[in-house]
């Protein structure tokens, strides 16, 4: 039997935000650019070029392909730094993000997944990474603690279940998430909650009412 296709790591951040959004993008192949994603493309056009350089004793690799066979995930890391310590190099993933740090943990999960891949690929512990936010031009260090690792593995499992079933989860309207979602026009969380059969019957009933006298 052929092994299942790896889950793209970029889907993990979508899945933390909304499992349906991840399914719409990766299963239904719908994609809608909005201002936020367009800015993201410009940012990533710079970081996605594979290459490497060395600065201040830190080896840096950009556009690095990562994968974990155990988790069945794969993707490209914006930047991985290899910090030199006494017993060798410790990988340190850095992910570039538009905007600023967010309340939900989508960015952290995506970064942690890269850490898990790097642990499996190098056989060395990866205790932390960093998120670089373009708007604030700040690096935020993210420790890969037990909580974040568990959330990351759970997200991979949820996404795997959706992909295996080839079924997009139903829309559930959440004002705080849906308003900022670039896919809301394609998802239509409010309309999809309405039963069409009953609506259609009502429409016909109204159409057939006698014309009001003019």
């Amino acid at each position: 039997m052929e092994p299942p296709d790896p889950i793209p790591m970029s889907a993990l951040q979508h899945a933390v935000y909304c499992l349906r959004q991840a399914a719409l993008i990766h299963l239904e192949r719908l994609w809608a650019d909005n201002r936020f994603t367009a800015e993201g493309h410009v940012l990533h056009a710079v970081t996605d070029r594979p290459g490497g350089r060395r600065a201040r004793g830190i080896r840096r690799a950009s556009g690095l392909a990562l994968a974990s066979r155990r988790l069945g995930i794969a993707g490209i890391a914006d930047l991985v730094e290899f910090h030199l310590s006494q017993d060798g190099e410790t990988p340190y993933p850095v992910e570039y993000k538009r905007g600023k740090a967010k309340l939900h943990r989508a960015d952290e999960v995506q970064l942690c997944a890269q850490g898990l891949c790097l642990e499996e690929m190098t056989g060395r512990p990866v205790p932390a990474g960093a998120l670089f936010y373009a708007q604030t031009k700040r690096r935020v260090e993210v420790p890969f603690d037990a909580d974040l690792r568990a959330l990351t593995e759970q997200t991979v499992a949820d996404l795997r279940a959706v992909f295996d079933a080839r079924a997009t989860p139903p829309a559930i309207y959440r004002a705080d998430r849906c308003r900022a979602c670039s896919l809301s026009e394609l998802c239509r969380p409010k309309q999809l909650a309405r039963p069409v059969l009953a609506w259609r019957a009502r429409q016909i009933e109204q159409l057939l009412l006698p014309e009001p006298p003019s």
Partner: protein, 344 residues
């Protein structure tokens, strides 16, 4: 809301279309006549002898702009498409549904019959008095019979043959009184019953031309949401026929095409001189006449109406896309039925 992107219609013989940076440039005899940025463009329709550069074809494919070539009598010749949008799961669901399409067909026919009836009712409200007893009574009688067809559809009429039969019966009733809606004072502008390939009178010539334009919009809408335009529900599969595009346009025809044809003729924006009769009796729009229709078509598409299911205002030109989107959401299990587009 998704942007209503422009369609560029090129009707001038010998026009040349080429790519210049991120723009489409149209030239006639070496002089630049139009320049449109790709991001503003949804599709390009070229009528007859128009030159298109390979670089422009490539750019259209890459930017998701559909490029359609029609011959001198508006028959479809070729289309340039980029990579297939959407996904194989949606298409499989579409093929599976096409094996048992009863309820989708019911929605499509309901929408079409309801909108045909609305066009007739609107005419009675606006002109009933002036029509004299006889036509007004005939139109009222047809409205009454269309209402009964709607009741039968709503009461659960089943069986594809019955559903298709209801659609055919409604169309025959509707077109039996459609001629009364033509109020042009020009004696040549009349309706002798529905005819096509070729249209045999000016009214049919305008209807056929508008149906062609609407078919292209519906086909692009189906493709842009990832549906296979060749596999329909109401229309049976036939190689080369965009059956799904024809399905999608059924409920839109009375409002987007028929009413526009009537207002162009009745307001004398189209007159006898805008038509020419060919050997064999076929009637076609002249180039000038086509330009008038295309301008009015573009304006009509920008008009906003309340979308009944969406419960939001949307430009009429976006309705094919919205309906294709709702159809795909029904096929993927998000909606329990396909919501028809009822015009009010």
């Amino acid at each position: 809301m998704r942007k209503l992107l422009n369609t560029l219609y090129v009707t001038t013989e010998g026009a040349a279309l080429r790519k210049d940076g991120e723009n489409l440039v149209a030239e006639v005899e070496g002089a630049e006549r139009a320049r449109v940025p790709f991001h503003m463009l949804g599709s390009v329709v070229a009528f007859g002898p128009v030159l298109v550069s390979p670089a422009l074809m490539g750019a259209c494919a890459a930017n998701g702009i559909s490029l359609v070539l029609l011959d001198r009598v508006d028959r479809f010749q070729a289309r340039v498409e980029g990579p297939v949008a959407g996904n194989v799961l949606l298409r499989r669901a579409q093929y599976a549904a096409s094996e048992a399409p009863d309820d989708i067909v019911r929605s499509l026919v309901m929408g079409k019959v309801a909108n045909q009836r609305s066009v007739l009712l609107r005419h009675l409200r606006d002109h009933g008095e002036g029509d004299g007893q006889e036509p007004a009574e005939a139109i009222s009688a047809v409205c009454e019979r269309l209402a009964r067809i709607l009741q039968r559809l709503a009461a659960g009429l089943t069986g594809l043959d019955h559903l298709r039969g209801a659609e055919g019966e409604a169309a025959q009733l509707y077109f039996s009184v459609f001629g009364h809606l033509v109020r042009s004072p020009d004696p040549e502008i009349r309706f002798l019953g529905r005819s096509r390939r070729p249209p045999l009178d000016p009214v049919n010539a305008v209807l056929s031309f508008l149906y062609t334009l609407l078919t292209h919009d519906c086909r692009s809408a189906a493709e842009s949401v990832g549906l296979d335009p060749a596999v329909g529900f109401l229309h049976r599969d036939r190689p080369g026929r965009p059956s799904l595009a024809l399905d999608l346009m059924e409920e839109l025809r009375p409002v987007l095409a028929d009413r526009l044809a009537l207002s162009l003729l009745n307001r004398r924006q189209l007159r006898a001189r805008d038509f020419e009769t060919r050997d064999g009796g076929g009637v076609l729009l002249t180039e000038e006449g086509r330009r008038t229709v295309l301008t009015a078509w573009q304006e009509r598409k920008r008009e906003e109406r309340l979308h009944p299911f969406l419960d939001e205002k949307a430009p009429l030109g976006l309705v094919p896309y919205l309906q294709a989107q709702f159809l795909s959401r029904h096929l993927r299990g998000d909606l329990d039925a396909y919501p028809p587009w009822f015009w009010k």
